[in-house]
């Protein structure tokens, strides 16, 4: 069963290194390829928080403002642990896979009670 993971890393390189370490992507003869269970890796990059504004002639008045970090989406049939790099934008996602709802992502751990301190601290227990 394919699962969609949405992640946000401090930098692009950190993201790629993490994917290599996790075995999502492989380096074969100097080329980066998908692992067998990987259906897609999408390097989204920076996500716009506030769009740019323009004057009447189309010139930029204020440039766009981006969220921190570098976003990468992964579709895989493997259970993957992205730790605190995993994010859960749900219907506010900036990217989706064609034919899938934009909120089609591995959901965050549900808070069963107050003993669960935070979503981030419960990353290793995923609900599929």
């Amino acid at each position: 069963m394919m699962q969609i993971y949405k992640t946000n890393f401090p930098t692009e390189q950190q993201g790629k290194d993490y994917l290599l370490n996790l075995g999502v992507i492989l380096e074969v003869e100097g080329e980066i390829v998908f692992a067998k269970n990987t259906a897609a890796v999408v390097y989204i990059g920076k996500v716009v928080e506030i769009p740019a504004t323009y004057d009447a002639d189309g010139n930029i008045l204020t440039p766009a403002v981006y969220y921190d970090g570098y976003a990468i989406d992964v579709m895989s049939s493997s259970d993957l642990d992205f730790g605190t790099f995993e994010v859960f934008p749900a219907d506010k996602a900036a990217h989706s896979f064609y034919g899938w709802p934009k909120e089609a992502e591995v959901p965050p751990i549900k808070k069963k009670d107050e003993n669960v301190k935070s979503v981030e601290n419960a990353e290793n227990v995923k609900i599929k």
Binding site: M2, V28, V33, K36, A39, A40, V42, Y43, I44, G45, K46, V47, V48, P51, A52, Y54, A56, D57, G58, I60, P63, A64, Y66, D73, M75, A93, A94, H95, S96, F97, Y98, G99, W100, K102
Partner: protein, 789 residues
């Protein structure tokens, strides 16, 4: 060729597939079928030339959803060709010379009627022609309690009615004139209607409470089917429309326009319009469509291209072009022609002139004129525009002739005579406006389309009304135009202003090549400007000329510029530019006044361009369209592997054949062939880093014995490629020519897999019309035949 394929152990053609499977024509037991994965939806161009999501499984399941279907003729002797046969007439009517004549008197009901025409409760479309009108009125009786609409002038009239009896009747009131060509045909077939519904001119009209419904057999026994339902409300006085498609329901919609919803069927009932007291529409609806869709994300794509085109024609503009009646044509000249026995007949005396004309305001603009000369001893015939337009000589020889003529006056005249004698008989005159060019359905050729993963970073690829598109001095209008089946909006620059539409800020990777593409259709402005901010200059613009179908540039040329002509003034424009992270506003659609400048343009508030399917992707070429609606969207890579088997592949000798085309000269390695799942044992064809080159490799036991390549004119075109392999006997054939041989070959040790990759790596992204494998080598003659284009 067919005999050769009979001998093959594996044959793959673009014919059959299932979710997750690409099915071979041979072997037929399924042992050779391929596994296929993509795990996302994708679009293709279907056999009708339309862009569609492959998850759409069906055509429109609704029958007669646009209410345009008409049945067979129900009236007998409607042209009175057989006198008064089949008609019952009161004494105010007389029948003769193909018409029923009213004498101006008033009878009891003054009826002209025919029995056993209608089926009570069914809907019909009645047409009749009034001619030779002098006075009084005549009208068609649509049923008790429904007023007869009096007709008081010559003309062809149409009325829709729901039958309350089996008779049809015409009622005159001191009518002095004639009627003929009476026709009644059933409409609204396939629909069951309560009394409030009636069928009109390609619409269904409701007067309040009550339902209309239809049974769809494909949905009867398939609860849980995902459906996409759409309909067009054309008029609302009060109430609204609620559609219930086997349990998948819409809200009550009260607004005029096209509406679409998706849902899942939950029962086995019917497709209802306003069931169970809902909606209560006072208004009209049409274009009701139900399409079955699936959540399957591993559906291979058979993509069609190479279509033929034909004229897209408007409706018939000539009346009585088959000369069924002696009417509609104004016959004159010193040697006046006649209409007789279904033909227009000129008897031409030397030095005389005769003509048959129609003064018809609709005959104007670029038209296609066809006519058939059935008998001729004349050498001259001309078509002239009425009201003093241009005269043009046209063929007078026996046969059907077609000419194209730009009519600037209102009407057409066929003229004969002047220089020679003889006779000339004409039939089946047709004049139809040429609206453009359209795809001839099923004229294209299908191929398997395997593409790499790609992401469209335009977040609203079709909806330019969204605020993420910035409209400078321009407006967006929607007149329901479609481009290849996709909704298209019109970008209209404001009057006396330089209008432009710009994409929102996005995040392309600095310094990488991005391809930008868009489907456009002529909307009144000749020059359309597509601009990209580019790392090589502050702005690069492509100015496309709809008239000459060519380009000019501003800010430097762009790479890989293509304009795919899709017919009917539709083009897919695509080009590459290198993104600059410091300039993020990198996509806009504007206009030019002269085809060279982008600064001097001023709009008129009316003309513009239709556009849709905007796409920006990190590729060096445009891939298939990826629709977006609020996010960037990724279509995953196509992966077709694990075909064939040890039983259908011979390790000691054989032939691998493929008819393939590349998607691009992008320098990537793309494998297709036989292997053991590794590069140790393989017989493969590949595209690679060299431009326009195709390559063949044979390895055995980890040793590469043959590695040859050949330069093609263009790898984007289809080529037929074959590898013959056997101990000390290798040959590489392309397009009927043996381009390489080798006599030191060791045959592979293990070959049990036919894939569009090797072990899932370096997938073959390209187009494939055929792949075949033989377990024995073929002769040079056979290989030449096999690979000749």
């Amino acid at each position: 060729m067919s005999n050769l394929l009979d001998q093959a152990s594996i044959v793959l053609t673009p014919t059959a597939y299932d979710n997750g499977k690409v099915l071979c024509a041979k072997p037929t037991d399924g042992s050779g079928d391929f596994d296929f994965s993509r795990n996302s939806a994708a679009t293709r161009v279907n056999a009708q030339g339309l862009v569609e999501d492959v998850q759409i499984l069906s055509s429109n399941l609704v029958q007669n959803g646009d209410f345009s279907q008409t049945g067979s003729e129900e009236v007998t002797n409607g042209s009175f060709a057989n006198g008064n046969a089949d008609w019952t007439i009161e004494n105010t009517w007389t029948i003769g010379e193909g018409v029923a004549n009213g004498n101006g008197a008033n009878g009891s009901t003054a009826e002209l009627k025919q029995t056993s025409v209608n089926t009570i409760g069914k809907s019909y479309k009645a047409t009749f022609k009034v001619l030779n009108y002098v006075s009084g009125s005549v009208g068609f009786f649509r049923g008790s309690g429904i007023g007869v609409t009096p007709r008081t002038a010559d003309g062809v009239y149409t009325e829709y009615f729901t039958a309350t009896s089996s008779e049809i009747r015409f009622r005159g009131s001191n009518f002095n004139g004639s009627i003929t060509n009476i026709s009644v045909k059933e409409v609204g077939q396939n629909w069951f209607k309560d009394a409030n519904w009636s069928i009109g001119d390609n619409v269904a009209t409701s007067t309040g409470a009550g339902r209309m419904f239809q049974s769809i057999s494909a949905l009867e026994g398939n609860i849980g089917t995902k459906v996409k339902v759409s309909f067009n409300i054309t008029e609302v006085t009060s109430g609204g429309v609620k559609v219930d498609c086997y349990g998948a329901t819409s809200a009550v919609i009260t607004e005029v326009g096209t509406h679409t919803f998706t849902g899942t069927t939950t029962n086995t009932l019917n497709l209802y319009i306003n069931n169970s007291g809902t909606g209560n529409l006072v208004g009209s609806i049409t274009n009701i469509s139900v399409i079955e869709i699936t959540d399957d994300t591993n559906l291979p794509r058979i993509n069609y291209e190479g279509f033929s085109f034909q004229d897209a024609l408007g409706s018939e503009l000539v009346l009585n072009g088959d000369f069924a009646t002696n009417s509609d044509w104004n016959l004159g000249g010193s040697d006046t022609p006649i209409i007789e026995n279904g033909f227009l007949k000129f008897g031409i005396s030397n030095g005389t002139y005769s003509r048959a004309r129609q003064n018809n305001a609709s005959i104007i603009g670029n038209c296609k004129v066809t006519y058939t000369v059935v008998n001729s001893s004349a050498s001259t015939l001309a078509i002239r525009e009425y009201a003093g337009g241009n005269n043009e000589s046209v063929p007078a020889t026996i046969g059907t002739h077609t000419i194209y003529k730009n009519f600037i006056a209102n009407g057409i005249s066929f003229q004969a005579g002047g220089v020679d004698g003889g006779i000339l008989e004409i039939d089946n005159i047709s004049v139809r406006e040429v609206l453009g060019q359209e795809v001839v359905p099923d004229s294209g050729c299908g191929n398997w389309l395997w593409e790499p993963q790609s992401t469209n970073i335009i977040t609203y690829s079709e909806d330019f009304t969204n605020s993420s598109w910035t409209k400078f001095n321009s407006s967006i209008t929607n007149d329901n135009t479609k481009i290849l089946g996709i909704n298209a909006l019109k970008i209209v620059p404001d009057n006396n202003l330089k209008g432009i539409l710009k994409r929102p800020a996005t995040t392309p990777q600095d310094g990488l090549v991005y391809n930008r593409s868009v489907y456009i259709k002529f909307g009144g402005e000749r020059y359309v400007v597509l601009s990209a901010q580019d790392a090589l200059s502050s702005s690069r613009s492509v100015i496309f000329d709809f008239t000459n179908k060519d380009f000019s540039y501003q800010g430097g040329s762009v790479s890989n510029l293509l304009a795919a002509d899709m017919g009917n003034e539709i083009f897919r424009i695509s080009f590459n530019s290198i993104s600059s992270g410091s300039v993020i506003d990198d996509y806009s659609i504007g206009f030019s006044s002269d085809g060279t400048s982008t600064s001097s343009f001023l709009g008129n508030g009316v003309d513009g361009v239709y556009a849709t399917a905007t796409q920006v992707e990190q590729q060096s070429y445009a891939t298939s369209y990826i629709p977006t609606d609020g996010t960037s969207v990724t279509r995953n890579q196509d992966l077709c592997t694990n075909g064939g088997s040890a039983a259908s592949i011979n390790i000691t000798e054989g032939v691998l054949y493929a008819e393939i085309a590349a998607l691009a000269n992008d320098g990537t390695v793309r494998y297709l062939g036989l292997s053991d799942g590794s590069t140790n044992n393989r017989v493969i064809i590949l595209y690679y880093s060299a431009t326009n080159k195709v390559r063949a490799i044979v390895s055995s036991g980890g040793t590469k014995y043959v590695d040859v390549n050949y330069e093609l004119t263009n790898i984007l075109d289809f080529h037929k490629v074959a590898i013959k392999y056997k101990l000390n006997d290798f040959a590489f054939w392309i397009d009927g020519v043996e381009v390489a041989t080798d006599t030191s070959l060791n045959a592979p040790i293990v070959l049990d897999d036919l894939s569009f990759s090797i072990g899932g790596s370096s997938p073959f992204f390209g187009k494939t019309k055929a792949v075949a494998v033989w377990k024995e080598t073929l002769t040079d003659t056979e290989l030449a035949e096999l690979t000749t284009i």
